[in-house]
Amino acid sequence: MSEGVKFYQIGSRAVGNRLLDESLRTGQASPDRQNTLNSGHRACQGCGEALGARYVVDAAFRAAKGKLIAVNGTGCLEVFSTPYPESSWQLPWLHSLFANAASVASGVAAALKATGRDDIRVLAQGGDGATVDIGLAAVSGMFERNDDVLYVCYDNQAYMNTGVQRSGATPPAARTATTEAVGPRPGNLFGAGKDMPRIAMAHEISYVATATVAELHDLEAKVEKAMSLRGARYLHVLVPCPLGWGSAPADTIRLARLAQRSGLFPVYEAENGEVTSTLPIRGQVPVEDYLRPQKRFAHLFGDRPDTEVLSRLQLLADRNIARFGLLPEEVH
């Protein structure tokens, strides 16, 4: 067969491709993948975080040639994977407190350094609550000291484990248990919250990246890139939550895709505080397409759509698109 044809039926967004060499498929396409997060965990149907965690930790495990230690903050991921005495983790894994995953990981890295085991790598992970709110001081300290840790935040935009309370990563207008859809301004406030990836960038650490569970090639490449570097690194992965978002379990990946295509979740990477690449939007959609399938935004689509709030959300997306240059000409 001719080697001249660079078109392989399914595009570069699929997990695998029988027409491509195995080295060009994702790690997740391999029947020999580690499954660092094993079956039998108690995450909800269609959990984005369980999926994202396996994607990330498998890729890091591969990059570290199997010599990887994971430290976990408190949250869904910790709870659903390790109900005493079971564990779903197929690698060394530690959990201490809600706030201190970054600090514990710093300690593990220091211990490895002290014992001369710099072949063993350290990954810390937590949800948006443990990262953006409760553990922010520890994360920031780890960044400032440039400890040799890859910190991964699985962002599902609220405290899902304890019953969907608002976090610093909850988007404006979203309904949570603590920002109910009542009153003249239903849902979460505009103008509040924290943009954690840009906070990480402000520390000028060697590598900061965002990703979603919808773009696996992109996500794996970013984990690999992060693992090729030393010092503090930060990866922020959007992981839709069917329970907290009020979405169908089967829509988890679709919603992650729509978040990126609408511009509400910009996907990019930065080195030493400067943005170095972005994932361009292919097929831009209005924010409404992303919001409408989620019950946490149902109050925007009552008898008649709340056009004022929708246009404010669209402005946020437009601002991301402009800030990161997400729409360069025509993209396929």
């Binding site: 067969m1 001719s2 001249g4 044809v5 078109f7 392989y8 039926q9 399914i10 595009g11 570069s12 967004r13 699929a14 997990v15 695998g16 491709n17 029988r18 027409l19 498929r25 994702t26 997740q28 396409a29 029947p31 499954n35 997060l37 094993n38 079956s39 039998g40 965990h41 108690r42 995450a43 909800c44 149907q45 269609g46 959990c47 984005g48 369980a50 999926l51 396996r54 994977s81 005493y84 005495p85 079971e86 564990s87 779903s88 696996l216 069917p242 169908a248 379990p249 089967a250 829509d251 988890t252 990946i253 679709r254 895709r257 097929g283 396929h332």
Partner: protein, 544 residues
């Protein structure tokens, strides 16, 4: 008791926790019906052979193709490809060029000398096929594959029927046709040329045949009374095409009028241009919307300078001039005369008003019924005479080579089961069930890829010779075109289901579809279904 403080249990794997018990629906791999397969009159499994072509396994692809249709190289030139009309990819960018890939496979087979599969062991049954056109040859091939002894009796001096006498060489070169017919006959089919069957009962007894397939076609040009002057040259389109395909080059003059709006009219007009007519005018009594000719044929004819006079009938053919009457469509779309006349120059008038079935043989068959000029058959393609089946242009259906080939295949299946040779009930020509719709696919995953256009001869060269107009794809463009297939309803191994399961509950296996669901852990979220590009997985309720 050497456990740490406050620890009383040993660490266990979460594999002990069978989350499959949460499930109320389970994912199931299916083989959906691709719209191309559904639309193919010849019953080809198009998505299946494209799948093989996608990784360059051309011989495998060709073998899958000829399991249903032994004429890929002919099909790739003359089929009007309803598969492409049905193709879901049209809703993404443009339809997959199925026909061009089919032609590539057909030509490759001729280049490489690939042979059709050998017939199965002899059944001892004998079948007579009357007529060596597309339907007859297709039936002969499929009957022979099933192990029956087949004799084809053809009244003409060459096999091929309308493929040879009705289709001009610039659409179907004769060496291509001969290659495919020779290869088909080489499977052990006896062909008797110049053998007209006049009395079917007698022929059956003489040859001790157990069944008959009648495929005598429709070669009689439909007659219409048009007053014509003594010196006017009036030809029948089929006779013209047949004469030219024999290598003759009749003088038609500089101005030729073709009367009719079907594919034969287009072929006749294009042939007239090649015979030297500066002006070839098609006269059709209705508008383009009602025209039976295929759009591709009309477009190619117009490209070659053929003109069309819509809403006209011929009232008189004089010497060097033909009188037309303008028509108008009434509220029911029926053309009505207006009384307005006009004259156009014409040295020859070619009539292409449809074709009729020659009844001389058919009237000798006891029990066979003819209505509207065609033979009536039941669902199994059997006529009123037991053991006598019919297909192709003699039965009521759209008349095309592809339909004829499909009839031959279907009839062969029914003849086979009628002969009781134990192959089981015939597979339906068109699978039952609804074809997969575009909305069932996850089109996000298919990168945009524009249609590979086949090279065409320059117009100036086209009208000066009878060389083939449409070229073939090369290896690169053929594999590219095959890979544009969206594989509607059928797994093509993209690993999405395997990758997107949050519970690692999709397994890779060696059997079946290559994947299996681990029901111990599948929670039934449906992510594998939602992210399957080709719609090859569905959710089914659990039975409890």
């Amino acid at each position: 008791m050497d456990k740490p403080f406050a620890i009383t249990l040993d660490v266990r794997s979460s594999l002990a926790n069978h989350t499959g018990s949460w499930r109320s629906e389970r994912p199931v791999y299916v083989d959906g019906l691709p719209p191309c397969n559904h639309a193919c009159p010849a019953g080809e499994q198009i998505q299946g052979w494209l799948y093989s072509a996608e990784d360059g396994s051309y011989e495998t692809a060709w073998r899958r193709l000829v399991a249903d249709n032994p004429f890929p190289a002919v099909m790739g030139r003359v089929c009007y490809h309803p598969c492409e009309t049905a193709c879901n990819r049209a809703q993404l960018d443009s339809a997959v060029g199925i026909n061009s890939v089919e032609r590539f496979l057909g030509d490759e087979a001729i280049r490489q000398g690939w042979q059709l599969p050998a017939a199965r062991p002899a059944t001892g049954k004998r079948v007579l096929v009357v007529g060596a056109g597309p339907a007859g040859l297709s039936a002969a091939y499929h009957l022979r594959q099933r192990g029956h002894a087949v004799e084809v009796h053809e009244a003409g001096s060459k096999p091929g029927g309308m493929m040879r006498f009705g289709i001009p060489t610039f659409r179907l070169p004769r060496d291509v046709l001969d290659s495919e017919i020779d290869r088909l006959l080489a499977t052990g089919i006896t062909l008797q040329l110049d053998t007209r069957v006049n009395d079917l009962t007698q022929s059956m007894q003489q040859g001790s045949f157990d069944a008959v397939f009648l495929a005598v076609g429709a070669q009689l040009g439909h007659r219409a009374y048009i007053p014509a002057g003594q010196a006017a040259q009036v030809l029948d389109a089929l006779s013209l095409l047949s004469t030219v395909s024999d290598g003759e080059r009749p003088q038609l003059g500089r101005a030729v009028v073709v009367y009719g709006g079907g594919n034969t009219a287009m072929d006749a007009a294009r042939t007239a241009r090649r015979l030297g007519a500066d002006d070839a005018v098609v006269v059709y009594r209705r508008t383009q919307a009602q025209m039976p000719a295929n759009q591709v044929e009309l477009d190619e004819a117009l490209d070659e300078g053929v003109r069309v006079r819509w809403l006209r009938t011929i009232v008189e053919i004089g010497d060097g001039v033909t009188t037309l009457e303008k028509m108008r469509l009434d509220a029911d779309g029926v053309p009505q005369p207006t009384g307005e006349l006009e004259q156009i120059t014409s040295e020859t008038v070619v009539l292409a008003l449809g074709q009729d079935v020659d009844r001389s043989l058919l009237d000798t068959v006891p029990g066979l019924s003819i209505a509207d000029g065609v033979v009536q058959v039941d669902d199994t393609m059997m006529t009123g005479c037991p053991g006598v089946f019919a297909g192709g242009d003699v039965v009521p259906a759209q008349r095309s080579v592809t339909v004829g080939i499909g009839h031959g295949r279907t009839a062969a299946q029914h003849i086979d089961s009628w002969l009781g040779s134990g192959s089981g009930p015939p597979a339906p020509l068109v699978d039952l069930g609804m074809p997969v719709e575009f909305g069932q696919l996850n089109a996000w995953y298919f990168s945009d890829a524009p249609h590979a256009v086949r090279p065409r001869l320059e117009v100036a060269r086209r009208v000066s010779d009878f060389g083939e107009v449409v070229g073939g794809l090369d290896v690169d463009t053929a594999v590219y075109e095959a890979r544009r297939c969206l594989s509607c309803g059928n797994c093509f191994g993209c690993d999405n289901c395997f990758g997107v399961c949050p519970d690692n509950a999709v397994l890779k296996v060696e059997t079946g579809h290559g994947y299996a669901i681990d029901l111990d852990y599948c929670k039934g979220c449906g992510l594998c279904v939602a992210e399957c590009p080709s719609g090859a997985i569905v959710m089914e309720p659990e039975q409890t």
